[in-house]
Symmetry: D2
Subunit: 379 residues, 4 copies
């Protein structure tokens, strides 16, 4: 397998996570240490770029990602910059012939996402979105079970992603609250993750009835300031949704989920069984088999909390007896991308997947404005 040389664009918190995850992959899969190399890093501030390069151990850094794209031998870029830059960078990277790994949500809107998916496909490049939550073992197991028909006809579902990061009204404005940077609020930031998980497990969405709301409508411009600025994005988004296969469900997305640290969960109810996933125990999937025996004196029905996988496929490092953490799921997601480059397989989650999620979010916004259901086909 040829060495993969990656250009890392953006080095905020999540950029650092990606960098660490690339370094961990060889140990998890018994690969040569130099099989994946971060060959350069670009951030908008030169100083940050320099520090990043030192931390990563690479000798190239720049404050202009175009410099990085121009470097010879860059096989792929990893985009960890704000949402409003994804489209531009993806187009430039595609033109430079680099495979692309891009943070979520894919884009600012449906048009951008569609354009990005088109461009990478036309260029024959591998392109993957960081829907890292797919790579917790219990999510993978949930998908296996649904694909195998374990649940029978799927009646309904529920998803949630709650954080409590904005309950404090004194917390000032930030880039996460600015629509021109992010494209949306809780729906985009948190919702993209849970909507992708449901899409991954249940298939495409058909229509959505959403209610989005900005619970705290003004915030200090800076910490402690008396000046208030309007918050233009949702901090809660409640959705009813139907899948193309006819399941009806509900999705709760909130940055005002008081008490939640990182409360992501889903449940799926089928005629022959049910499953429950909770990010709090990401290697354990609760599974109910409605075909189990039931008797007057006590049967066998109940949720079984299965250790969802004993390890990731091919894993070498013996850390499978505990749940993997945030970093490990990123490493797995990135490994899928690297493998797709190596073996020519289709990367997943793809930009087309990212574009579908973008459509669901757009439908949720439109339905909230209309106060009525919106179909994805009409977006």
């Amino acid at each position: 397998m040829p060495k993969i040389r990656i250009g890392l664009i953006g080095y905020g918190g999540i950029g650092r996570v990606h960098a660490a995850a690339y370094r961990a992959i060889p140990f998890h899969y018994g690969l040569p240490a130099d099989s994946i190399e971060i060959a350069g890093v670009a951030t908008t501030r030169r100083q940050t770029a320099e520090r990043a390069a030192e931390e990563i151990g690479c000798d190239f850094f720049t404050d202009d990602y175009r410099d990085l794209l121009r470097r010879p031998g860059i096989d792929a870029v990893d985009i960890c910059t704000p949402n409003n830059t994804h489209h531009e960078i993806v187009l430039a990277a595609a033109e430079a012939g680099a495979h692309i790994y891009c943070e979520k949500p894919l884009a600012m809107n449906v048009a951008e996402a569609a354009s990005m998916a088109r461009v990478v496909q036309a260029a024959g490049l591998k392109a993957q979105v960081t829907f890292n939550f797919r790579f917790f073992p219990a999510v993978t197991r949930a998908k296996q079970l649904v694909d195998a028909g374990f649940l029978g006809r799927i009646f309904s579902f529920r998803g949630r992603y709650h954080r409590s990061s904005y309950i404090d009204g004194d917390k000032p404005m930030s880039w996460r609250l600015q629509r021109e940077i992010t494209g949306g609020g809780a729906l985009f930031d948190l919702g993209s993750h849970i909507l992708d998980l449901l899409y991954y497990v249940l298939g495409e969405f058909d229509s959505v009835n959403g209610t989005l709301e900005t619970l705290i409508k003004e915030r200090p411009t800076t910490k402690g300031s008396a000046e208030l600025a309007p918050v233009a994005v949702d901090d809660i988004a409640l959705l009813h949704a139907r899948t193309a296969d006819g399941a009806l469900g509900t999705v709760e997305i909130s940055r005002m989920g008081t008490g939640a640290t990182n409360d992501l969960s889903f449940e799926i109810f089928g005629q022959q069984g049910a499953i429950r996933f909770d990010l709090g125990e990401p290697a354990w999937l609760s599974v109910y088999d409605a075909r189990a025996a039931e008797g007057p004196q006590g049967g066998e029905r109940g949720f079984r909390k299965i250790e969802a996988v004993s390890r990731y496929a091919g894993q070498r490092a013996p850390d499978w007896t505990m749940s993997p953490d945030f970093m490990r799921a990123h490493a797995e997601c990135q490994y899928q991308f690297i493998r797709a480059i190596w073996d020519g397989s289709l990367p997943a989650p793809s930009f087309a997947d990212g574009a579908h999620v973008q459509k669901v979010m757009a439908a949720a916004e439109r339905s909230s404005e209309l106060g009525a259901w919106a179909r994805l086909d009409d977006i």
Copy 2:
């Protein structure tokens, strides 16, 4: 305190529970055994009535509830009959001057419920609805905390009542699936309970956006029959709702909640705290205080699972170290009714409460038809 003589109308499963609960009250509160007497029982089938009287230990039974109302010395009636008979019986009982304890949902529709609330008020009678879930200790504690302002501004909420009683498509039609008997499906049967709990804790609802669906649209007319009959009521009802105080929330109601035995829960998210109730542990309330200290090395924030009450007010029997069961909550609900008769206090949950819940259910149905929000004021 004078002895209360009760006429019990209906003796299906829930009638038996009410009867047992009346018998338990003296032991729970140190009252004379004969302070509450079931003085007669009426069911539509004479044979059932006779067996009921034997089980209860009363000497009067009848297949016509009017006979029971005509008996001298009946202080109150307890109505455990199907929903479509509540209105008629309540009006007759009010005319007979009996206090009234009536199973939920109060009525078939808003008009009936309003009429019933009016009639009992005009007659100066005590009238209570069996919203027995209010009387689990953790629910009472949740109300205390919300009333005391513990949560601060309430942002949002979530409620659920799931059972899995109808996931089997071979299960035949039953009275629970006939709109002319019940007035509605899962929304009426299960939804009335969870909607009442949210109303009890959060105050009146303002508007609702519901999606009701009949997931299995035809069922065998009888067990094993090849003949199918259409199911005319919802088996799942998903609601978005706003309270008069501006909280936005979601409510899931389903008889197709695969894996659920009796899955009733709610969560409330406020600016200063959050609470979670789960019927699986009905004496324990999870409470989060957002004002607790948070520090870089670990603070004090987290959900505290409080033993919600050490016992019911005035309780004598030492059973407070375990969660009360279904029967105990009914006993408590009925005790409130009896006490209201004794001390002249207002009974709660009242018929007015039952009528409010009826309105929420009607708004949910209308919004589902319209595919848009419905305001309670417009019902």
Copy 3:
């Protein structure tokens, strides 16, 4: 079935629970209201006896249990008095020809217990001990599974009964802390329950290695008093134990289990499976099947939380969708006793069972004194 007339001896908290439970039985099983009658009550204080009779609704009360035994038509007695009176009352009741239902622990010591078991057997009377925890559905289910060989060879086990009732050093002396009344401390009060459950599910004990300790060695003689009295009973008892079948386990018993309301649990580890019971969810048994498939990408192994029984055998009242409470388990235990009188079957838990538990407790005390294992055969 003839009416059973019961003489109730003792009416503290637990006496009231027994009385209420007898009244509930007809509703749970569709029996005539008068099939079980509390025909009289005896307590040492006449005033308490009078109030008890009023609450129960019986016309006989006395401050001398012998008066009650002399009443014609008493079929059975129910003994709810302190431990140091059990032996005397049982012997008197047996002489009077009454069947006997007796609170736990059976006796003050092994000699008493053996004598009581002998006497009732010789007299051909039904005699049962109030090991009410056996009658939570998940315990019954655990026994079924073990008896059916579901666990294969049993390797080991763990039991616990923790309460936190005595952590406060200012809590004064009480009868529960006086050896001459109770015979022992936490070991007798709480330990008798968990030891019986383990014995019920796993069979007889062979030997015990216990460490008993009085953590707070002196307490105020009365609330607020500066005068201190020595506490002569254990408040914590830690046991290692072997069953006759060769399983090795550990049992923790404490009244100083800070944070515990009523923390009773057990786990059993076998070669083919494992089970876990927790009193917090007494209708749910966690069951692990080691024979389930395990695969590299995720298998089927895990604890299944089964709804242990859908209802008690023969139960009529529809309260089986929630966990039964303390009262309901007592009702079930008492119903077994009544049924044994009616159908001539062997009552269980029997006095012989109570005597075995007494032996285990004695062995625990002896081993604690010796600092070494003690065999039951040597007690």
Copy 4:
């Protein structure tokens, strides 16, 4: 800070984990990528050593650890070899002047452990044992709370480490079951971890009463073989123990804990509070405050599940909203060692700590032979 050059000795599963963890440290703490370098690797088989070097990305490998010690510029060694080699390697490394990071249990017996602790102290070297579980945030938080006196007088405790790795009687002999390689069985392998955690939080042990047992006494010599070999080490170890501060507790250690994947937990009961740790949720500590208000209508007492730390001190990578995994805890443990080298602080857990745990294990073995308590001072 000078670069630290590490010689890694042993590259089985745990060696790979250590290697990956060293690589992750710079990203977690914003350090230059080359601040920690694995400068060489030694394993007993040359081929393994070569593959390890490729995976790690270092240019030196050898099948003789002495070669590695002789390399110039090695600052420290990390010993990931079987227990029976620790003593020899530590002595050689100390002679070579290398700081030492050594896997647990420290040694084969108390004499070896004492000698190792003496040697590194005399040489003025940093020496740390891999008690990585100390570095889960909730453990750290537990220690903080106990040190701050939050629990008041400590009454009792309970610890457990269960795995189910040996329940299958057909599983053949392995090095883990050979006393001459490991020094002991479940007690050494798993017990060393939980005993260290209790020691870390509660302080030194005073005495132990243990029962060790080999539940499956013979196993096939190789997979599928009919030839059986005797198992010479314990697979279950039950301990009663007293700390020097007078707390009495129980510890359960088993490789036959059917259903357990990695079930490590402890509870501590104090007069003013209690805490519970469970490795299943290693960033959450359950904390009970007995001083919280209790009222007749419901108080505030209950276990609070606190997010134990928001992040590790100094941490940069934003992965603190989920629990850290096995790898992360190793990285943290190793970071403490590296920091001790940099800043001259005392490393912890030290070899003296490892030697104390060794003494507890020896006391457990002796007490099991004697069937009586053994004091650490007598070992």
